[in-house]
């Protein structure tokens, strides 16, 4: 028996920056792959079991989220692979990249296998992992990077535990580049951050919150760029927050260094001013900085200095935010606002459609070195279909993530996800 299994998507505006495509097309998917793209595809000529009328809708590659914590293993009271991949799949995100700061840390093959096992049983979207750069993320001994790569890790990182020993860092960069691994760095000098919880500036001074200076990020980037220039390693800076950092990265790119960067979507909207009411949902690391920083980050995305936008998804249980501001846990549950906030930048003429889609799909795909984020013939059939003209409001009750911790509750959005397709399967 050969049951028809394909999906035919008719007359959507297909935006696929990797193939320089932005036009109204039909697209046919079968057996988990993109089979055909044409101006018109007759259903009778396909094995389509389903036809989606996409007139007036946007059809784009599925989103690849460079940094999302699913909290498993180790913090299942906050979230699990199952809950968060369901949330992702309902938000147009088809691939999640998890940093290695799970418990246990992803620093050996067995932990990668454990996660892959969980993914196989429960995941509703693709998950890829970064391996730990150092054993237990302690910044002392190199992890078995080759074994981690063989087990499936797409890069290595010390996540949000900075390596302060410059010699260890240098050797980690050298060793990673020997194995053709991209190093993912969240730049932060813990001495300068000094347990701060807000951007060091006028607002933190007024609120009496311990501050984190710009230099906590930019000094690390400056140091690392010097090492990269010497070693030639391939490095990605994640979750950039300040104008000074952007300046350094732009300069390095002009000099030909192989550095890329991403920004968390919330950094493109909120600033230190949003802390004024001690709103613990605005407790994030790195902290929200000044308006000029937010504008520099927007400029950097629009000009390709920062290639990717990610959710920096950090779901929490309600109690984690029910304390005085400094005692709350940092982070935002961001999966469900990644797409609508990014498209808000299109509405505000900060980004073009091409730029927005690029920063969510092909750019993060290239950074991770995975063959996803595009709709070439034969590509994995991961897609997001968006209604560009449907008002909706973010409410805790309708969020799918187990974490409802977001400062964007009550925000109005104009673009709503219509369908997600993963591996050629329509998510219901």
């Amino acid at each position: 028996m050969n049951q028809p299994s394909g999906i035919l998507i008719k007359q959507g505006r297909l935006i696929d920056p990797a193939n320089q495509l932005d036009a109204v097309k039909d697209i046919y998917l079968e057996n988990g792959r993109v089979i055909a793209i044409d101006d018109h595809i007759e259903q009778s000529k396909t094995a389509a079991a389903e036809e989606i009328d996409a007139r007036g809708l946007i059809v784009m590659p599925g989103i690849i989220d460079l940094c999302a914590r699913v909290r498993e293993p180790g913090l299942e009271h906050k979230a699990t692979i199952k809950t968060e991949t369901i949330a992702a799949s309902k938000a147009g995100i088809t691939t999640l990249c998890c940093p290695p700061d799970t418990d246990p840390v992803i620093d050996e093959k067995a932990v990668v296998d454990l996660i892959n096992h969980g993914v196989k049983n429960a995941a509703h979207s693709h998950i890829v992992c970064l391996g730990a750069m150092t054993s237990k993320l302690k910044g002392e001994h190199l992890s078995e990077m080759a074994a981690l790569k063989a087990a499936g890790c797409v890069g290595i990182s010390n996540a949000s535990r900075p390596i302060t020993n410059t010699l260890v860092l240098r050797r980690a960069l050298e060793y990673a580049s020997s194995h053709d691994l991209t190093v993912f760095i969240e730049p932060n000098d813990p001495y300068l951050s000094n347990h701060g919880c807000a951007h060091e500036g006028a607002v933190a001074t007024r609120l009496g919150l311990p501050g984190i200076p710009d230099a906590a990020e930019s000094t690390v980037i400056a140091r690392d760029l010097e090492l990269i220039a010497e070693i030639g390693a391939r490095v990605h800076f994640g979750r950039i927050s300040s104008a000074r950092s952007i300046g350094l990265i732009e300069q390095a790119q002009k000099q030909g260094l192989k550095v890329t960067a991403d920004v968390a979507i919330h950094q493109l909207f909120l600033t230190e001013m949003d802390l004024s009411t001690y709103n613990s949902h605005c407790h994030v690391l790195p902290p929200f900085r000044e308006l000029r920083d937010r504008d520099a980050l927007r400029y950097a995305v629009a000009n390709g200095i920062v290639q990717a936008i990610c959710s920096d998804h950090q779901p929490h249980e309600e109690d984690a935010k029910l304390h005085p501001f400094p005692a709350t846990e940092p982070g935002i549950s961001g999966l469900e606002t990644l797409l609508p906030l990014t498209l808000k930048l299109v509405s505000e003429n900060i980004l073009s459609w091409q730029q927005a889609v690029t920063s969510l799909t092909i750019a993060p795909g290239k950074i991770l070195g995975i063959d996803k984020g595009h709709l070439s013939i034969g590509a994995v059939a991961d897609l997001a279909i968006i209604n560009p003209d449907k008002d909706w409001t973010l409410e805790a009750e309708t969020m799918k993530s187990q974490g409802k911790n977001t400062p964007f509750l009550g925000w109005h959005f104009q673009h709503q996800l219509a369908h997600t397709i993963i591996n050629g399967q329509l998510i219901r």
Binding site: E200, G201, A202, A204, T205, R206, L207, G208, L209, P210, G211, P213, M273, D274, S276, T277, Y278, N279, H281, C282, D319, L322, H323, P324, F325, P326, A327, P407, F408, L409, G410, W411, H412
Partner: protein, 341 residues
């Protein structure tokens, strides 16, 4: 300074953090910070406190204003002066007082601040007086307690200590008169960690002070402090030159360990208020200190005890100011009672 987005769109947020202090009639409901309160309210606090100072001078130092009310002093940080003056203030208003200290409380067993508040609320408390190590703790409490409960901030992290600032204003007013516009005030010492300094700066600016100076090395100054409306000085002699009021802040010993200062000796030589350095201020300048003082660290004994020192007046005023704020927030007019001599 209000973030319109956050306010308009986040239903979990509640009110802006300064408006949360006022009820729908614009009366003081909580006392969390000076910031955002108008000069009328600050002046009302000072006038009410002035009336209570006469109560405090009587043989029977008690008025029945808050009879039947329960006030809970919830102190997560050690304190002698502030807690005892809050306690005395409550008792002189005839309230019942419950004192809870962190070291003996359930929080050391892992109970959250919110659970502690809810448990005490279940015991029919009418007012919480809260001191906590985290900035924003008093706002957090005010946002979560039952609507009939008032919260007084007795110090939260580095953020605010509004009753201390008001007792300082009362002390300045008693010594320098009601018009602050020609006055020059210098605040000297660890501004970075000081909730007292932040509240004083807001209060002085609201009361139309002529000139506020903060004096400290840069390691003890928070970023962009000048945006609070102060002039910054790194040199003591220049900073207190022609000042009418010199406020010294306590220097905590821990500051030596964080590489903020080289030594107590060098700090004393550079920023200590001595009979010599005090000569740079006006001859009739008053010397203030929120206490507890470190003799020989930030202030010379003979200055602390000298003619220009009003440090002990500040302590007495503390009781009157706390009585004023308690009676105002619990909704009982105290103006008339104070006249009842």
């Amino acid at each position: 300074m209000v973030n319109k987005n956050a306010r308009a769109t986040n239903p979990l947020l509640g009110q802006d953090h300064w408006n949360i202090q006022l009820d729908e009639n614009g009366r003081l409901k909580h006392f969390l910070t000076i910031e955002g309160l108008g000069s009328e309210i600050l002046t009302e606090i000072l006038d009410t406190a002035e009336n209570f100072t006469s109560v405090n001078k009587r043989t029977v130092k008690k008025v029945p204003l808050l009879r039947g009310k329960t006030i809970t002093n919830l102190f997560f940080e050690a304190s002698t002066r502030t807690r005892t003056t809050f306690e005395l203030a409550a008792k002189r208003l005839s309230a019942d007082v419950l004192n809870i200290n962190i070291s003996t409380s359930a929080t050391s067993k892992g109970e959250s601040l919110l659970d502690t508040l809810y448990n005490l609320q279940a015991m029919q408390t009418d007012m919480f007086v809260i001191r906590h190590q985290d900035s924003g703790a008093a706002h957090f409490a005010a946002r979560h307690v039952a609507p009939y409960i008032s919260v007084l901030n007795a110090g939260d992290g580095r953020h605010a200590h509004p009753t201390q600032a008001m007792l300082d204003m009362l002390t300045i007013r008693q010594n320098k008169g009601h018009d602050f516009s020609a006055l020059r005030v210098a605040i000297v010492g660890d501004i970075l960690h000081s909730r007292v300094a932040r509240s004083q700066i807001h209060a002085l600016n609201t009361l139309n002070i002529g000139d506020i100076r903060v004096v400290a090395p840069r390691t003890l100054l928070p970023a962009d402090i000048e945006k609070l409306g102060v002039n910054v000085h790194y040199n003591l002699q220049q900073g207190i030159a022609d000042a009418d009021v010199v406020i010294m802040l306590r220097l905590q010993k821990e500051r030596m360990q964080g590489a903020m200062l080289p030594s107590e000796l060098e700090y004393y030589q550079q920023y200590g208020l001595t009979s010599e350095t005090l000569k740079y201020a006006k001859p009739d300048a008053i010397v203030m200190h929120p206490g507890p003082i470190n003799r020989g660290v930030e202030i010379e004994s003979c200055v602390a005890d000298g003619m220009q020192s009003v440090i002990l007046d500040q302590v007495s005023n503390g009781i009157a100011v706390r009585m004023a704020v308690m009676s105002m927030t619990l909704g009982t007019s105290a103006q008339q009672t104070g006249d009842d001599k």
